[in-house]
Symmetry: C2
Subunit: 197 residues, 2 copies
Amino acid sequence: MPRRKTEPAAEANRRTEVLRAAARLFVEKGFEATTTRDIAEAAGMRSGSPFYHFRSKLDLLKAVILEGLAASEARQQAAIAGVDDPLDRLHRLVRAHLGSLFEHDTNAPLLIGETRALDAAARRQIAEAFDRYQIPWQQTLDALVAQGTLTSAAPPLRLWLFGMLNWSTHWYRPDGAMTLDALADSAVAMLLGQAPG
Amino acid sequence: MPRRKTEPAAEANRRTEVLRAAARLFVEKGFEATTTRDIAEAAGMRSGSPFYHFRSKLDLLKAVILEGLAASEARQQAAIAGVDDPLDRLHRLVRAHLGSLFEHDTNAPLLIGETRALDAAARRQIAEAFDRYQIPWQQTLDALVAQGTLTSAAPPLRLWLFGMLNWSTHWYRPDGAMTLDALADSAVAMLLGQAPG
DNA sequence: AAAATAACCAAGCGCTTGCTTGCTTAAAAA
DNA sequence: TTTTTAAGCAAGCAAGCGCTTGGTTATTTT
């Protein structure tokens, strides 16, 4: 029984609510520290009910990461569509990524560390999705080299960049003095060697 | 009964073996996913024995992080002792930090994320230790600004740098083609804006 | 030699965990 | 109107969890 008789047929899948609750808790407390009871309660259900929508807790983790990553990818595509200038593109990529980390409710990149718990097949699938996500980054870095703004775009550069952005979740607070735009500016300046505008 | 009658009085504290085993497992599988039985087995004990040396699993985590951090600090001090040139100092700081991440057996920086599990008092204590660890970094960055090698050393710069190094644990493999020295070179080059030597 | 201590082991307690099973009911399909 | 389906709930099971307790033995101290 759908626990609400009102709202005729509109409301979207209840599965999504479980997914969102799980994503938030996984990020907040970590995968292992989050119980399926926590998730059920956060979604307003009884303890066994999430298992109607997901076969196992691991399955739920996999879905959280993959669907969250897909959302970040969509956000990324929207941010750079039609933008040709490489520096502008880079800035938008950085800003969109930080947005996925701090603004969105399903921030997948944070959960890379939790993939430990998954089996090899799931890990490979997630790694492939991450690789796809990073393709526009490498292309943009290459373009910056071609126009002389950067001197080299060997693969480690992209990984350094990606890493420094992801780690910012350990120190940046969105409600602090620094805006997300300023954070993005700072990151780009760091990459370009503090050559200020 | 100390399980070995040989080795008269030499062998160091058995506590240390528990600590090391815990450190390795916490890094490998994460704090929550590691059971006290895992730790006991890795140290060659029965399941309850670690609790002779540590009051609780959380206490063990705290000790792993604090003592690991102290070891990294010692390594850091040894690396920069008597070195005056700022760029040389920076390079040594970076190299020593990567060494703590990949070579040492108790690599504390990786466990920052696991402090979630600890109470506020322990977290504060660890944060203070981390702040101490970062003091030489900020000093060196300031010196690089003073000599004109960097244009700015505002606090985010140090955090970006620290973050990109720490995140390298997600992609760098010490047994791969790239040596740790080369990795350190690459990181410094990234910070200086790819101005190659 | 006697007493104290350090460093465990063997056994298990109470609780939490992921997950299952059988039932129920609102809504949709026939 | 009857039947089927989607979406749960109530209850609980077996395994695993952190941790305790009471004893045991090699070593150290007195």
